[in-house]
Amino acid sequence: MSLSVKKDDKLSDLFLQTKPVPSGLEGFSGLKSEARQILLERGFPTTKNEEYKYTNISKRIADSIENPDAPSPISDTSQIESYRELLASIDGYEVVFNNGIPDLSQTDMSDAKFDAQLFSAMDASVAGRIGTIEKSEKDAFSALNTLSFSEGLFINIPDGTVVEKPIVLIHYVQADKNGDCIHPRYFVKSGKTSQATIIELTVYTGSQTVFVNALSEWSVAPNAHIRHYKLQDGHKDTLEVHNTSADVDRDATLMSVVLSLQAGMIRNNLSLNLNAGNCEGNMYGLYLLNGKTHVDNHTNVDHTQPNSDSNELYKGILTDHSRGVFNGKIFVRQIAQKTNAFQQNNNILLSEDATVNTKPQLEIWADDVKCSHGCTTGQLDEEALFYLRARGMSKESAKALLLYAFAGEVLDKISIEPFKKYCEKIVHERLGGSY
């Protein structure tokens, strides 16, 4: 008897085989089996699923990913040259994820005012927090990460602590062969009135097809101020899913800035739960896409209590056959009076074959709120271009200047100067300007 395997079952076959829970993670076996159950019942999203209508990442994974387990660890990540200069200029606390597995042995924690623990060695008192902010039922890839992670990192910023230097999470990814995948996982707990900046980079060595399925949870306590900058700069055969969820408490702020520059396909799911009064969630994104790169940003901000603010600005410049997707959900619950929620998505298309699908989704149940949203997709402003050329600037540099100004609004949100400079430089180079 021959078994015919349906195409969309390939991912279930690949990822849902029963295997033992890695040693040290026994405490998470309940969480993992729940994740597995959800995936068994619901499967992986196709384009029939509204949330994945434009982003057929399941198919991309099914077509190119062969190995459900992480490739073997890189023998010496300190030899990897990419980003060395940037890392030196940032001078932060560097925490390495080696093919998805956090490795604290290289982190100089001598003057660090925060602590970092592996999931396999963490205090039972905090282990129960894992999986409470980003739940498996929310997204198939979130469930897949929970099912598949074989280690994780717990970062704890104690009450009243200001971590002056940025914490830099560096994901080193090196596939053994085409079709590998990794499932990085971490949790950031920031205590009351603490402050910290986390920069996240992914470094691919080699050009193999890889799938990075990352998940992070953020607990932001009252009056804490946390900034998270993420740089996505892979190559044409990298597939990435990032599920990022935060609970934000009263008087606290969480800012997320995501820069997407190169990839095969990226799906970012960002969810902020604004759970108390006077807190703020800020979401910024910039995507510069060329070739066949496909980047999908789904954001979700939930105003559950009165007096909270959210600000959102995503901007894209697209050329060649690239595709951008933006979906911004804003929920304002009935008791969440005096909410301020602003959302903008602006896109510039530089070629006829580039496309953008943008959709704001507002559900507002309270009546005394200020909400606004807008999206634009268009070409470069011809009037402005002519004005600059009429002053003697070449068409190329006038274009680059205008594009750079457009992108600059997002780059300006980055407050770590060396990192900002670095991002400005690569954006500058990408926009091809000699001005």
């Binding site: 002519f386 004005y387 050329r389 009429a390 002053r391 003697g392 600037m393």
Partner: protein, 253 residues
């Protein structure tokens, strides 16, 4: 310096300029007047190289070169400057950066050394004084949120920096208060020399009291229907355009 012969231009298939003839020599100031919609800004835009306007007939030579073959930036580098009737607001672009890039690209074209930051700043300071423009304005994004008058001043400031040989001022006086008008006119006059020329597009005789034209032309339906000296501007101020329209239709009958 500038020679326009039988210039016809249209936009999206509609003819707007219907045979313009104009000769301008170094050192001259020409005023172009005419009712709304007669084609004054179109003429200015065609000279500056705006691509939406299609030249269907005629020729334009500037300092012996076929102007119509040059890109807008090369026209600027050759010395053509258009002060826009409606200067464009460009958020995120700093006035200073933009101008320095523009100046240096113009200099490169002319085979001159680029200006370094210090030299450029000195040039800015000198020209700021000339048009009495506030430093604060120039530290903002280009024209963004500028008042109508501030935008016009900024145009003349850019002109002063770029030192063109042919300046086309498209209604630079509209939106200026009396004092600003004097400052702008004074700036234009100081930049005047025997080697450069100015085209002043205006609706009002007032400006021409300060920038005295050698010739005044009346544009109507995309043609220059009357030319004269500065007295013609005074006559238009008193009598309006109806008598000219009558003259034109009279000859047409």
């Amino acid at each position: 310096m500038l020679s326009i012969k039988n210039l016809h231009a249209s936009v999206e298939g509609t003819a707007i300029l219907n045979g313009i003839n104009l000769e301008i020599k170094p050192g001259e100031v020409h005023a172009v007047m005419g009712p709304n919609g007669s084609g004054k800004s179109t003429l200015a835009s065609v000279l500056a190289g705006r691509e939406e306007y299609e030249v269907t007939e005629g020729e334009v030579y500037f300092k012996g070169k076929n102007l119509l073959e040059l890109s807008p930036e090369d026209r600027a580098r050759e010395g053509v400057f258009l002060a826009f009737q409606y200067p464009v607001e460009i958020p995120g672009v700093s006035s200073t950066n933009f101008l320095r890039t523009a100046v240096n690209q113009v200099r490169e074209y002319r085979g001159q050394e680029p200006l370094d930051a210090v030299k450029f700043l000195a040039l800015m300071k000198e020209k700021m004084k000339l048009v009495e423009i506030d430093q604060k304005l120039l530290s903002r994004a280009l024209n963004e949120g500028f008042s109508g008058g501030e935008k016009k001043k900024n145009e003349i400031f850019q002109m002063a920096i770029l030192e063109p040989t042919l300046s086309i001022l498209d209604e630079t006086d509209s939106g200026l208060d009396i004092d600003a008008l004097k400052v702008v006119a004074n700036g234009v006059n100081q930049l005047k020399s025997k080697d450069n020329a100015t085209i002043v597009v205006t609706h009002y005789q007032r400006l021409l009291d300060y920038i005295v034209p050698d010739f005044v032309h009346v544009l109507f339906n995309g043609q220059i229907v009357k030319s004269g000296t500065k007295e013609l501007a005074l006559e238009l101020e008193q009598k309006g355009y109806d008598w000219i329209k009558d003259e034109v239709s009279g000859t047409a009958v």
